[in-house]
Symmetry: C2
């Protein structure tokens, strides 16, 4: 293979995207350099043509994984024009979201990692919390304390999906999701 600037950039982004998915699926520690390169269709040796170190990639991947979350949820909100908050909550508590952490909200998957992580990771995490809170605050009905309500909603979403993923019994897992949905919607 040659080395056009475009091809180089594409490879770089492909590796980064693979890593952003894997980091959500398996955490910051587990995905190895060889593994990630293989999933991107390459061998491990070329890795350092694109990233300074494994740590460098993982850092970027975590930031990207976090940033993707709010984009997706904002879009989910737009699908239900009449009730955007319902659209967001429905998407967040969907089985699809529960069963595919690799493309989902990184507030759930990277929470523990961020709590134990360095300032850069915690800043990226914090930024996403703020984004979500901003988004939900606007969607919550006026009258009450909207920000407080948004904090309750976001906490319940994150905690609910975390537990729904961790629990083994699928009935219990489903119950968590559907009950939370009803509870969070009935409050409107």
């Amino acid at each position: 293979m040659g080395h056009s600037q475009v091809a180089r950039a594409q490879t770089h982004e492909r590796v980064l995207r693979v890593a952003a998915r894997r980091v959500r699926e398996d955490g910051l520690e587990h995905p190895g350099v060889s593994e990630l390169m293989r999933e991107a269709g390459l061998t491990h040796g070329g890795f350092y043509k694109h990233f300074a170190s494994r740590e460098d990639l993982i850092r970027q991947a975590a930031a990207l994984a976090l940033a993707k979350g709010t984009q997706q949820m904002a879009q989910a909100a737009r699908t239900d024009e009449a009730e955007p908050l319902t659209g967001l909550i429905e998407a967040y508590l969907s089985r699809r979201h529960r069963d595919d952490p690799g493309t989902g909200c990184a507030l759930v998957t990277l929470g523990s990692a961020a709590a134990r992580g360095d300032n850069e990771l915690r800043d990226a995490y914090e930024e996403q919390v703020r984004q979500y809170l901003g988004l939900i605050t606007e969607l919550v009905p006026a009258g009450q304390d909207q920000r407080a309500e948004a904090i309750l909603v976001l906490s319940a979403l994150v905690g609910g999906v975390l537990m729904a993923r961790a629990v083994r019994d699928e009935n219990l897992s489903d119950e968590l999701l559907t009950t939370l949905f009803d509870k969070l919607i009935e409050r409107r």
Copy 2:
């Protein structure tokens, strides 16, 4: 040192307890055998007199860490005799709990690990979710759907503490805790 049965059992438990704390602080992957033994006041060589493998210890430590959680929270509920649910929520959303994950609720710290973990870990996690739900369901005021209310409360607690730990800005972190407390209490 000799080898009385009592001393042996004490050592075993000391290592296990150290591991249960470290596993909540740093996750299932990070704490090393030598490190854990050192913290228990021993050298690494004797480890295999007590556990079949690192994996074996970590499995037991995770189970213990999870089991300790509900015990503590049930106790926290008992401290406020008039309003046990308030006592539980207050303890869960306290800065002390946020700032000391090593002695806190493992539903928060081990959620991602359980989601990615084997059936045994997920069973242990599930069992604790059920324990918490049972406990909170009883404490929630009658009239409404108590179990649904318990699910909302538990999800908000878990998600709230997860985010409060991950976020860097202490003001935002405090806001999450105090706002959630008000929100969850005002509903009584």
